[in-house]
Assembly symmetry: C2
Homo-oligomer: 335 residues x 2
Amino acid sequence: MEQNKKVTIEDIAARANVSKSTVSRVLTSTARVADDKRAAVLQAMSDLDYQPNIFARGLAGGQSMTIGVLTQNFGSPFYDAILRGILQGLDGSGYSAIFTDGRWARASEEEALRTMLGRQVDGIIVVGGYSDGATLAKVAAQAPLIVVGRKVAELADRCLWVDNFQAAYDATRYLLDNGHRRIAHIAGALAHDDAAARRDGYVHALEDAGIAVNGDWIIEGDFLSQSGLLAVEMLFTRGALFSAIFAANDQMAAGARLALHRRGIRVPQDVTLIGFDNVADAAYMIPPLTTVNQPAAEMGETAANAMLQLLKGKAIELPVFTTELVLRESVARLP
Amino acid sequence: MEQNKKVTIEDIAARANVSKSTVSRVLTSTARVADDKRAAVLQAMSDLDYQPNIFARGLAGGQSMTIGVLTQNFGSPFYDAILRGILQGLDGSGYSAIFTDGRWARASEEEALRTMLGRQVDGIIVVGGYSDGATLAKVAAQAPLIVVGRKVAELADRCLWVDNFQAAYDATRYLLDNGHRRIAHIAGALAHDDAAARRDGYVHALEDAGIAVNGDWIIEGDFLSQSGLLAVEMLFTRGALFSAIFAANDQMAAGARLALHRRGIRVPQDVTLIGFDNVADAAYMIPPLTTVNQPAAEMGETAANAMLQLLKGKAIELPVFTTELVLRESVARLP
DNA sequence: CATTTGTTTGAAAGCGGTTTCATACAGGGT
DNA sequence: ACCCTGTATGAAACCGCTTTCAAACAAATG
C-alpha cells in the first residue's frame, strides 16, 4: 500500500520513452512538445500516479509555490475571516499558504518573518501586526509583500486597508444623528494604528458636532471581550452618564453588553451600543448589534489575488475597501 | 540591502576553512566535529547570516520540517481554537504548519490530502472532516497522521477526541436534574459522527430517565448560528412546548437564543438553554451560556506534541480528553 | 541540391544540502 | 618499531527537477 514510494520524473521518462527534459517541459509547459510525446507523458504520469517533488522543484527552479502568511492572534474572528479569504483566493493557484502567528509581539513577528524567508516563501502576506515600516520594507525587498488590515506608510501601495478614521467618524455621526450626545468610547489597544484612528474618528465627530470630548469617557481596551466588560464598569465607576457606547470592535461591544446586562440595563432602550468589524456573531448578539462592516474575507481574497499577480510579475492596483454601517437593533433613537 | 542573495553552505565552508561536509555536520550535529572547527563554522554562519535552504535540505534529507494541517471551515471558533493549539505546540520545534481547508467536502479534503503529500509534509494532522477511515488509513501509511476532534475506527490510537455521547448525556442529565422534562435538541449535521453521538447521548439520557423521546423535538441543524434560529422556529411551528433546549454547539445555541429573544421569551426564566463547545463567546452571551467545555486549544497542542513524538520515532500515548459542564446563567431550575 | 532557418529533443550541468566512503592521523597494545 | 583501532575530515555521489546548450532533424530558401 505504500511501496509507490517515489515515482520520479525519470520513471515517467522511461515509461513514455522520452528524456527527463521532455517530461519536465510538459510539466512546466515552458516549451513546445510534440503532441504524441506530450500525450505519452501525460499518460505515464497518470498511470504511475506521479506527484512532482516540491523540493526538487523548489531547489532547481527557485520557486517554492508557497506563500507565507503572518497573522496575529490566530483565532480572533476578524482576522480569521481575512485568513479564510486568503485561503480562498489562493485556492486552485497551486500555491499553498504557510501560517505563522506573531501574537501581537514585535519580536515573534520578526522571528516569524525570518522563518518564512528561510523557507523561501515566494511571497508574504502580513495580516495586522506591530512590526514597523522599516522592518517590513526590508522584508519587501526580499520577497513580494502585501499588508492587509493595516496601513504602512513605507509600503503604501502594498497595503489593503479601510479608512478607520472615517468609519469611526461615520459611526459616531450616526449616533449623533439619532440624538445621542453623551457617547462613550471603548477604544482598542491604542498602540494599534487602527485603534487610534477609530478613537480619533470618534473624537472628531464629537468635536465637529460641537460636543466637548471628555477624556474620562474614553476607555482603552485590548480588543478582547473582557476588556469591554471592564470598560463599562470603569465608566460607571467614573460616574459617566452615557446614553450610547461606541466600541472599537464587536468583541468589546459584546463584553460591554454583558456588563450592561448584569446591571439590568437594557439595550437599546436604556443604552445604545454600536460595534466595529461586523464579525459573524454580531448578528446573533442580543439584540443584534449595529456595527461597522469591514469586508474581511473579501480583503483576504483580494490580498491573495494581488499576491498572485505580483508573482506573475504584473503590477497591482489595490482597491480601497469601504466600510458600511450595518443597521441592526442595538441603537435607539433619542427623542 | 538584498544582495545577500544566497549564502550557501559552501560559502560557510570557505570562510571557516573546512569542507561542506563538516559544515553540514555541525548543522545537523550528526557527527562529532572538533571544537575549534565547530566554533569557526558557527562564527562564519553568524558572520554571513546564514540561513540553510529548506529545499536543498528537504531534497537531500527527505525531511521537509513541515507538518500539514487539514482543517475544515476555517474561521469557525471551535476549530480555530484547535488550530491555535497546534501552532502553539509546534512553536520552537523547527516545524512549520501548512494549512489547507477541506471545507467539509469529501472531495476537497482528499484533494487537500494529496497536495500535502505532494508537498512532502513530514506529518499530517487532520482536524475534523468527513473523509472516511479507509482514506485516512491510506494516508497514514505514507506519513505520520494524527486526527483531532474526531474518532476514526481504523486509526483509533491516532485520534484525539472527546466522548461526545457521554458529554451530551451528562448535559441532558443536568437539565433533567434541574427538573426539566420537556427538552428539545438542536442537532448538528448528522452526517458528522460528533453530531450523531451528541444526539444519541441526548436520546439515551431521556430514555434512561423514562421520558419518551419525541422525534419532532429533535431538529437537525448544520452547526451554524442561522440553523439554530431556524430550528427554534421549526419547533414552534411544530407546536413543541419545551422548557429547555440542548443545542449541539454554541453557535446554534446563539441562533436559538436570538429566535427566543425575537419572541420575547426570556432565558433562562422562560426557557433554559445549554450549548456545547464552550467557545470564547459563550461566556459573553446574554445570558452567559451554560455549555459543555471541550479543551480545544489543549487538544490542538497535544496533537502537535504527539506529532513531534511520532516524528522522532517515539511511540505515543494519546490522553483521553474530558469535557466538563461549564455552569453559567442560561439554565433555570424548575420547581 | 546546398545552405540557412527553425523546431523538437536529449545530455548534462547545476540548485544546496546530506550521506557514504575512503583517507589521514593519533593513540594503544604487544 | 609495527600493526590495529578509532576518530575527524574531505571528496564525491546523490536527492529530483529545471534549464542551458548543442545536436538532430525538418522545412524553407535560393
